[in-house]
Amino acid sequence: MANSLLKNLEELVQDEVITSETADKITKWYADQHPPREARLLAIFGVIGAILIGLGLILIVAHNWDAFPRGVKTVWAFVPLILGLAGSAYTLLKRPESVAMRESSGSFTILAVGVAISLVSQIYNIEGDLAGFLLTWCLIALPLVYALKSNVGALLYIAGITWYGGEVAYDYPSRIPWLYLPLLCGIIPYYINEVLHRSKENGTTFLHWFVVASAVYMLPGFHGEFELLPLAYAALFGVLWQIGALPAMHKLYLVRNPYRIVGALGTTVMLIICSFKAIWSREMFEALSDYSVISALVLLVGMAGIVLYRRQKGEEIQSDPMTWIPPALVLMLPLSAVSDVVSAIVVNLITVGWGIYMILHGTARNHLGWLNFGLVTIAVLIVARFFDMNISYVLRGLLFVGVGVAFLLFNYRLIQQRKKQSS
């Protein structure tokens, strides 16, 4: 895109569509936006090389060299680490501006830390579970990320703490991975800095996806009753959506903004799950002290904070249904004490409303994605009702025909509308 535009600039100036000053400004703007291609390629290959060497060393170490005496093996454990640290120090001293040097020395050193600890525990048969090992590794990696401002290092760190959290939460005997929370907070200042200063870089997009994936993966670690987990998830997806709507994120393309994609998709899935009556048939007072509900409430408080911030900035938030759906779902819990049927019916109505909103939103904005997302939501809701309601085949058939007709009609209308606009 950028290249073809830059090629056309000369022609545009010749045909007096734009002035030569404007052409210069456009060229400069693109140059500022994108670092030179060579530098970027060097960074990518540097990092791939460093990671391959690091992983290769881990495998070589895993062979466990019995032929060497203990002392020699111990010295070897420190060699990659010292090399990595020396490379990092050289980068900071002589080449701090080189992205390739910072990224490759950072990722290599982080892997070398793992090599050193692994080799020492192997030499002395030091027991220690995988979780403890990952925790130590991550704690040492964190300051390295800040020192070298390495995005790949940050990605490795997030992957590491997520693995650690998973080991603690999902491996027998499972515990609540409390330490995961401060570990995640540890990378947030770096992350925010990247978002504010390099929001359009690919590295930052990767950070977004890693953080979102990590949060979604780790939430069940903090759950109590499995059936109440959808409420906690609804609150988490609400928080994600709100973060995606913040000024720094809102202007990004959808692919670069996983907060919005995952927030909207996840909330819809949770609505469908909660539309089943079984979710709501339980003792409410037991449920209130459940970890899932506590997680949901904490996340809702966080979400409220972001909503208030957005309102203060003068944004229109009342008309966004995603502001209301997650708290509404959690509030169904007290209502379910009165009647589980009523709760289920209300959730079904909310889901239909959300589906219709997306269809209208898609039509108004000429967006096929939103339109079909809305239609699919309603179709899935209908299929879900076949499981817990006794509906006659004729009615089921009619419902499906209705949704099918709506699919064709809405899509046809939107495409026609587009044709009209372009002609």
Binding site: A62, N64, L81, L92, I140, P143, Y146
Partner: protein
């Protein structure tokens, strides 16, 4: 462009921690290896794999299932201090489970997995802190095969040599029916 001071501070913290953590592990282990008291833990051996640290022989100790007359305060999932003694034929034996670091005697930190009250006392299922014995990748499977080939009496005669100092334990060797596992693996390869 000059690197800001803050980045240097982070680098120094990372560098010190990166060297100090493995170095501390080495020093503690060397002290236990050289100055620690050696115990022979009777065990069974089988062969799993660790993605970072390679092949090891997993050891299953008879001392991981013990019955004690007294009751420890430790609940399943808690850590406890196991005080070590030696039985009549010279194998290591856990004599006591303490809730705090014992003032006297060698001890290891164990995790209580399960407790059952019986007529003879309290039965504990424990996780000992040295269930892995790392070996070269082609040796660990050999040792496992050897172990499975042993008869009951020979299996009873299998033990790990563990050196203990101030609660830090280092596994020095593994003996299958009285022969060192490393020697056994080497013999097998020569014989092939």
């Amino acid at each position: 462009m000059k690197t800001p001071k803050s980045q240097w501070i982070f680098f120094i913290i990372a560098a010190v921690a990166a060297v100090a953590v493995p170095l501390y592990m080495v020093i503690q282990s060397e002290l236990a290896w050289n100055d620690g008291t050696e115990y022979r833990f009777r065990c069974a051996a089988y062969d799993p794999f660790d993605p970072f640290r390679g092949s090891y022989v997993r050891l299953r100790f008879d001392q991981a299932n013990i019955t004690l007359e007294h009751e420890s305060l430790a609940a399943p999932g808690d850590a406890a201090y196991a005080v070590l003694g030696v039985d009549s034929i010279g194998f290591a034996q856990i004599t006591h489970l303490a809730d705090a670091i014992p003032a006297e005697g060698d001890y290891i930190t164990v995790e209580v997995r399960d407790t059952v009250h019986t007529d003879f006392g309290v039965r504990y299922r424990l996780e000992l802190p040295f269930t892995k014995y790392f070996m070269e990748e082609n040796k660990a499977p050999v040792v496992e095969t050897k172990f499975r080939g042993l008869n009951v009496a020979q299996m009873e005669n299998t033990w790990a040599v563990v050196s203990v100092r101030n609660g830090h334990a280092v596994t020095k060797d593994l003996f299958l029916d009285g022969t060192s596992a490393n020697e056994l693996a080497a013999q097998t390869r020569e014989g092939e």
